[in-house]
């Protein structure tokens, strides 16, 4: 009888979703374990960079520092040595900034005009060039490294910052052109036609209509280029001289140098400093970053 009364007064309505169902435990459990794998290196970098060397030698790399010190950061920034120079990563940082700003500006100007011309001002052969451009982005850089050395040497800018800026503009062109082309082709064509009827020309339409309408895509392009150019290593090492090495190259030289005692805390501080710019861009930009990388995956 007790059984019956229990069924009579039992819960009615939709079955409530249990928080601790087997499915939820599996889904969240897996995601949390995987997240640990992703977080671990950042945690280790930060913790190591805040410890003194004696503590590193004694303790474990995952443990938070007993005594927090910012000395490794100061040393990485202004005293770490590469070869004979001992002025720290700050030199690489400023080199990278000097490379970054003109490269981002130039590559985005060129690519946005390309995309605009490809959508609204098609000329004979324009699609052929675009196809070569996209397939060109799959060619390993190693194939084009040396011909570009010759080109830059002929132009007299081999080994200078401007040479590297030109290289970044060239290799940023495929993905950025694709990005802008796809965006401009999503804008209503009537807009362009109306402006044509009103007598606006190529540049007039670009500056007065296209540019103001496409600020979001410019932000996406900036995010893409800032992280991409900041993280470049190969072009920096091939096309600049040691004095002008960007931050990534200098970082690698500092950490992987064979001379002297290894100072792991300084190395990790230097690594974090180098990763800081793209990390800040990433955390500030959020979903726009996702949109930027997705643009590379979506075919045009």
């Amino acid at each position: 009888m007790a059984d019956l009364s229990a069924t009579m007064t039992g819960p009615r309505g939709a079955k409530p979703r249990r928080v601790l169902s087997g499915r939820n435990i599996m889904v969240y459990g897996t995601l949390i374990v995987v997240s640990l794998y992703y977080i671990l290196p950042l945690w280790v970098m930060v913790m190591t960079s805040l410890k003194g060397m004696p503590e590193i030698r004694l303790g474990n790399i995952f443990a938070p520092p007993v005594e927090v010190t910012f000395q490794p950061w100061v040393k990485a920034w202004s005293e770490a040595c590469t070869g004979l120079n001992c002025d720290g990563l700050s030199r690489g940082f400023w080199n990278s900034v000097q490379i970054l700003i003109p490269s981002v500006v130039l590559s985005i100007i060129v690519a946005s005009v390309n995309g605009y011309a490809l959508v609204n001002w098609r000329f004979k052969g324009s699609d052929v060039f675009f196809t070569i451009l996209i397939f060109g982005s799959f060619i390993p850089y190693q194939v084009m490294l040396y011909p570009i050395v010759i080109l830059l040497r002929e132009m007299g800018i081999y080994g200078t910052l401007w040479g590297l800026v030109l290289v970044h503009t060239i290799f940023g062109m495929p993905i950025l052109t694709l990005l802008f082309r796809n965006y401009f082709s999503s804008l209503p064509e009537e807009l362009f036609k109306a402006a044509r009827v009103d007598g606006a020309g190529f540049w007039g339409i670009y500056f007065q209509i296209m540019l103001p309408m496409s600020l979001p895509i410019f932000v996406v392009a900036i995010i893409l280029q800032v992280t991409g150019i900041w993280n470049d290593f190969l072009f920096g090492v091939v096309y600049t001289k040691p004095d002008l090495y960007p931050m990534t190259v200098q970082l690698n030289n500092i950490v992987n140098s064979v001379q002297g005692v290894k100072e792991y805390n300084v190395n990790m501080a230097a690594t974090l400093l180098t990763g800081l710019v793209p990390l800040i861009v990433y955390f500030v930009s959020g979903k726009l970053f996702v949109r930027g990388i997705a643009a590379g995956a979506v075919k045009g």
Binding site: V238, Y282, I293
Partner: protein, 297 residues
């Protein structure tokens, strides 16, 4: 007046053509010209400077006789296959988990994707430190009492590729997860409803219906990841410098060393031409499927 109204074909859209000059120069001079130049000069015996002294396939014979090159190619194959399989499986499984209408989706995505914003140099150096035998994972597990625990991939030629793989997966799987998630979200909700009505279990729906429907997404991912693997360079430079010995050499390192260190340009050109060939092996079937197939179907 008549001339202004009907300008020659070359002068039509003149501004657009002027604006396209950088693109035309890039495609013709750098991409096409540079590639052809390198292929042509790979048949010469150029040393310090490019010379047009053609020697047939000599450079390629020397290349394939070099044990370092053979190791590089083997490494690329092993690393490539493992990293393709793992990134795609992990990326897909994570995307499926993220697609279960979970809470904190943005947080999880932020965590999984941040390594993708970091450079391979940073990635390589961090994992070099974590895998350090004296202070890293090995020493910690040993300090827990498991004295014989051995995990020192970066100093063991047999398993050094797995050390690189752990770091490579850390950097790249978040990106693949994002593409896969976008693919999953693009699938019509009605498909799910129909499968539920027919009483098909969820896992079976994924395997039999969703994955075949996502074929284009998988192929795009495959091509993107594969062409990235062939370019693999920075990660190895930072994490292992190709060592121990030559155990983790990759083709891109061979090219760089012969072109800019050993002053043996011909070898560098031949090696980079082989890299181009391997990209074409990936790219041509894809282009055929993607663009050739459409015309027929």
């Amino acid at each position: 007046m008549a001339q202004a109204k009907h300008p020659g074909r070359l002068l039509r859209n003149l501004n657009a053509k002027i604006a396209a000059v950088p693109m035309v120069l890039t495609t013709l001079v750098v991409f096409l010209g540079g590639t052809i130049w390198t292929v042509v000069y790979s048949f010469t015996n150029s040393k310090l400077l490019p010379r047009t002294n053609f020697v047939g396939f000599d450079q390629y014979e020397r290349l394939w006789d070099s044990s370092r090159w053979i190791v590089s190619i083997q490494n690329l194959l092993v690393f490539g296959v493992l990293s393709l399989v793992f990134t795609i499986v992990m990326g897909f499984v994570l995307a499926v988990l993220m697609d279960q209408k979970i809470r904190f989706e943005d947080t999880f995505r932020t965590i999984m994707l941040y390594p993708f914003a970091l450079s391979f140099i940073v990635t390589g150096l961090v994992w070099q430190w974590i895998l350090n035998p004296e202070f890293g994972i090995e020493s910690i597990v040993r300090s827990w009492g498991w004295e014989s625990f051995a995990f020192d991939p970066l100093n063991n030629p047999e398993v050094v590729l797995y050390g690189l793989l752990i770091a490579g997966l850390w950097q790249g799987t978040g990106f693949v997860m994002c593409i896969m998630l976008a693919g999953l979200r693009g699938i019509d909700e009605d498909i799910w409803k129909a499968a539920r009505v027919d009483g098909i279990p969820t896992w079976k729906t994924y395997v039999l219906i969703i994955i075949p429907m996502m074929r284009p997404v998988f192929i795009t991912t495959l091509v993107l990841v594969a062409s990235g693997i062939i370019k693999l360079y920075d990660l190895v430079v930072a994490q292992t410098s190709g060592g121990p010995g030559n155990a983790s050499q990759v083709p891109a390192m061979y090219v760089y060393d012969y072109m800019f260190q050993a002053q043996n340009l011909g070898q560098g050109f031949a090696a980079s031409t082989m890299m181009l060939l391997s990209v074409l092996i990936v790219l041509i079937p894809w282009a055929y499927l993607e663009f050739g197939g459409k015309k027929h179907g």
